[in-house]
Symmetry: C2
Subunit: 163 residues, 2 copies
């Protein structure tokens, strides 16, 4: 018996990712500026720090997915210390720039490229499609943590289903 | 120009979902029994309650995806009060039963079925594939919240990348 194959337009995968990024943006916006850069629970990173990880992964990840040129893990901007936004506005501007990057690079990924094995950030061997899923899952995971921070601060988070 | 189409074996989508469910199972296991049913932050649900939502969505969701017979939202077991496990063991047993359900029903979903529009839990109109993504995203989101609970309790959560 032939295995069932599911076909998804690449465009729908991009839309799904951007939908998640739009929601994460609203979570960043929902934080009071001081708490964004300071509030944490149980020794975890503050939400600005978590958002910087997501930002770097999207920014350098889309280039790696499209061109196979990967920034090594330890040179990601938030890890190397190259990117340290001081304000919510600065963080959101960087976020919006990466939204454009995704739209620019995404159409360069061919149907074959999605199934090629690549070494993500010079470290994790997986297909481009698996990398895509990991990036989206990781954003979902950390944004869920931001929801708890907001609730702990007495702030109603944006609805999860609205993407 | 023809739009890029990405082809994914249905089996890989199931494996992805089961990988996430396996990780959520380890998060349930990581909670001390009393905290599983009581600990919360900012007025949120305890992790057992969140896990019950995920359990019901998977159990009744896979039937709806495969057969188009959807349990209405308000009849989901954790909402209607039909399912109230008292112990971690009981919760994990229900979890493992649903793992089997997924393996049983999944192969019945045809390539065409993934693209059919359906009314998820009698309420949300989307394709079967979109429902799949929503279920996995929702699990990721709530499990991320469980990570914060564990950290707040001083417990190291299982690694996110291990699925």
């Amino acid at each position: 018996m032939k295995a069932t194959q599911v076909t998804i337009p690449a465009e729908a995968l991009l839309k799904h990712w951007q939908g998640h990024r739009g929601l994460t943006r609203r979570v960043i916006e929902a934080f009071p500026e001081d708490q964004l850069f300071s509030f944490s629970i149980g020794g975890m990173r503050n939400f600005a720090h978590l958002a910087l990880e997501l930002l770097d992964i999207a920014e350098d990840g889309i280039v790696g997915m499209a061109t196979n040129k990967w920034v090594p893990m330890n040179e990601l901007k938030h890890i190397s210390g190259e990117r340290v936004p001081k304000t919510k506005t600065e963080l959101l501007q960087a976020w919006d720039k990466v939204t454009e990057d995704l739209n620019t690079y995404w159409p360069q990924i061919t149907a074959e490229r999605f199934h090629e094995t690549t070494v993500v950030f010079g470290q994790f061997e997986q297909t481009v499609l698996e990398a895509y899923h990991y990036f989206v899952d990781n954003e979902n995971h950390h944004r869920g943590q931001g929801y708890v921070y907001l609730r702990a601060l007495g702030i109603e988070p944006p609805p999860f289903w609205d993407r």
